[in-house]
């Protein structure tokens, strides 16, 4: 895959004072294994990590005079700087002298604002820019911005990276669009973490690319649960159970219609196999279950009349508790209805 995925979770975490040295390194290593190409860091990250893990490519956020030398010391070959910093010629000279690849980050929320980035071509240092990162794009709701982005890359003779902001809940769509329309790179954060409105969530973008492009995308998303755990340890943020791609309940199914469909062929009601993202599907029993789902869960041949009574009791109990039932609760109902059930307590039953 020629297009790059850049992660900028690390500076967002460091900015909020989270994380220790080994956690930051572990996060990089996990994401690298998953398929992330480049990791953005800043002085705060470098300060915490002390030394950088080998075999990982970093892009360093340059903010002051000391940073060009830090890049050299740490062997970092790429840097990103804001439009304001880009106008500081002294700083630029230091980067150019050290042959560090330069990405200029400029804000643009609408296609018109993307076209307006042509202003960067008026600097006498335009030739030093290797890539332009378009930050924002939150007011772009159709592919017209992609034409603007391609046009800017052509005008400035640079690669184009985008970092969509999630202000109107379309950052994933914008990032995926950038990938499908052949832009050079996409910058994301894990769970969309950071900034005022959040960014495009890395896991959603990667999963979408994998769904649309198939195995050739080459990501290893099976590591996502591990990454979730590490992220939670570092930030204290628990990923919601229904968070796309990551949530631990997204492959739980309960309704009779879905249980029936999934039993016949999981593709009927799943956008991708749970194993692709390191999860497993599980059948829960509750108000929306049907007799088929209960029979499937118990794996015992019941008298149809008993099964109907069990279902009625399951629904009643589930409504009373306002949730699905635990295996123990289901077992108790079955015992009440059908008396002694050998299979439930032995190897034959699945609860």
């Amino acid at each position: 895959m020629n297009q790059k995925i850049i992660d900028r979770t690390l500076p967002e975490i460091c900015e909020r004072g989270f994380a220790g040295k080994s956690d930051l390194t572990d996060l990089c290593l996990l994401m690298k294994e998953m398929g992330i190409d480049l990791f953005e860091i800043n002085f705060a990250c470098l300060d915490k990590m002390v030394e950088l893990p080998g075999n990982i490519d970093f892009i360093y956020r340059v903010e002051s005079e000391r940073d060009a030398e830090l890049c050299r010391q740490y062997g970092i070959r790429e840097c990103v700087l804001s439009e304001d910093v880009f106008l500081n010629s002294g700083l630029l000279k230091g980067l150019v002298r050290r042959q560090i690849s330069i990405t200029v980050e400029a804000e643009a929320d609408t296609p018109e604002e993307v076209y307006a980035l042509e202003r960067l071509g008026k600097s006498k240092y335009t030739g030093a820019i290797d890539c332009i990162r378009i930050m924002g794009l939150s007011r772009c709701d159709s592919a017209s911005w992609v034409m603007a982005a391609h046009s800017i890359g052509k005008a400035l003779k640079t690669a184009v990276d985008i970092c969509p902001v999630n202000r109107f809940y379309c950052a994933t769509a914008t990032a995926v669009e950038a990938f499908l329309e052949g832009l050079d790179s996409i910058t994301v954060t894990f769970t969309g973490y950071g900034g005022k409105h959040g960014f495009a969530p890395l896991e959603e973008v990667l999963a979408a690319i994998e769904v649309f492009e198939g195995a050739k995308a080459g990501f290893n998303l099976r590591l996502l649960p591990q990454l979730c755990g590490l992220f939670n340890k570092m930030t204290g943020i628990a990923v919601p159970d229904n968070k796309p791609v990551l949530g631990k309940s997204i492959f739980k199914y309960e309704s009779g219609i879905h249980a029936d469909g999934i039993q016949k062929n999981p593709l009927t009601y799943e956008p991708f196999a749970p194993e692709m993202v390191g999860q497993q599907r599980s059948l829960t029993i509750g108000k929306h279950s049907g007799t088929g789902a209960i029979a499937q869960k118990l794996q015992i041949d019941f008298d149809p009349a008993d099964l109907k009574t069990i279902l009625e009791n399951v629904r009643k109990k589930s409504i009373g508790l306002k949730r699905s039932l635990t295996d123990q609760e289901l077992k108790e109902i079955c015992m009440q209805v059908a008396g002694s059930l050998k299979g439930l307590q032995g190897e034959g039953g699945c609860i």
Partner: protein, 267 residues
């Protein structure tokens, strides 16, 4: 642009594993949705019987401003249960993709069209408005989708739900699919987007831009797997991109959502 919200918190939202509501709670939530001026409340599945059926009957007795609809599989027995509740709208879900037709129903396209026609006629005899949902339309052959729409239209159906059942659309494709249907039919379209890849809001916006007049949402985006299009997020995005729903006050809507979550036992 006149876009109407179909709230499916009480049907697809409640289908999120772990949520279970009794008739009393569903009625309380319906009142709250009505106070939010939601056009249509998809109230539940009467074929489940018991509390579920009772909840729809109770909602109908309230004479809410919101229209009350019921969700039905494509079979006469299920529809009969709905008819007994006397809802404003009877919605019939019609599997549209080959994977649904072959793997789940173990039937063929011809059978689907014929059964759909019978179900529409039966439901229409009750006097209720009938809408048809094309389940898994985003993975279906567009030609067959158009065939289903034509057949439904001839039977008197005026609105079709295009369901991205497993949430695999992206906005360019959403726009292309909805535009194609709009270019070939006069039927009103409703977009039903799932959030498996985090794109339910953007896909719904894209569908409206392509001509969809109805958008399915749930409070907080709850629903099967990663959920549905989040009502508040959609309204905010629609305000920005479509310049509609300016009358929805975010704080009031958020308060209603909080009350609904409290009733559901969600936090």
């Amino acid at each position: 642009m006149n876009v109407k919200i179909v709230d499916t918190t009480l049907r697809d939202g409640e289908q999120q594993a772990g949520i279970a509501l009794g008739a009393g709670d569903k009625v309380k939530i319906a009142r709250l949705l009505d106070s939010a001026k939601i056009y249509q409340i998809e109230a539940g599945i009467p074929a489940m019987g018991g509390e579920e059926k009772k909840s729809v009957e109770k909602m109908m007795a309230l004479n809410l401003r919101s229209k009350i609809s019921t969700w039905n599989r494509m079979n006469l027995k299920d529809i009969e249960q709905s008819i007994q509740c006397k809802p404003d709208i009877i919605h019939i879900s019609v599997p549209a993709s080959d994977i649904q037709i072959r793997c789940k129903l173990k039937k063929n396209r011809t059978w689907v069209i014929e059964t759909m026609k019978r179900c529409i006629n039966y439901a229409r005899e009750s006097g209720a408005e009938v809408t048809v949902g094309l389940e898994d339309a985003s993975r279906a052959d567009l030609k067959f989708v158009l065939q289903l729409i034509s057949a439904a239209f001839l039977e008197g159906v005026e609105r079709i739900r295009y369901a991205d059942t497993v949430g695999i659309l992206h906005r360019k494709r959403t726009f292309a699919e909805i535009s194609s249907i709009k270019a070939r039919t006069d039927i009103a379209l409703e977009i039903h987007a799932h959030n498996d890849l985090g794109m339910a809001v953007s896909n719904s916006i894209s569908a409206v831009k392509a001509g969809a007049e109805f958008v399915d949402c749930t409070m907080g985006g709850i629903g099967e797997r990663a959920g549905n299009c989040d009502y508040l997020q959609f309204v905010k995005a629609a305000g920005e991109f479509l310049h509609i729903f300016d009358n929805v006050k975010e704080e009031e809507a958020l308060e209603i959502q909080k009350e609904i979550f409290h009733i559901m036992g969600l936090h």
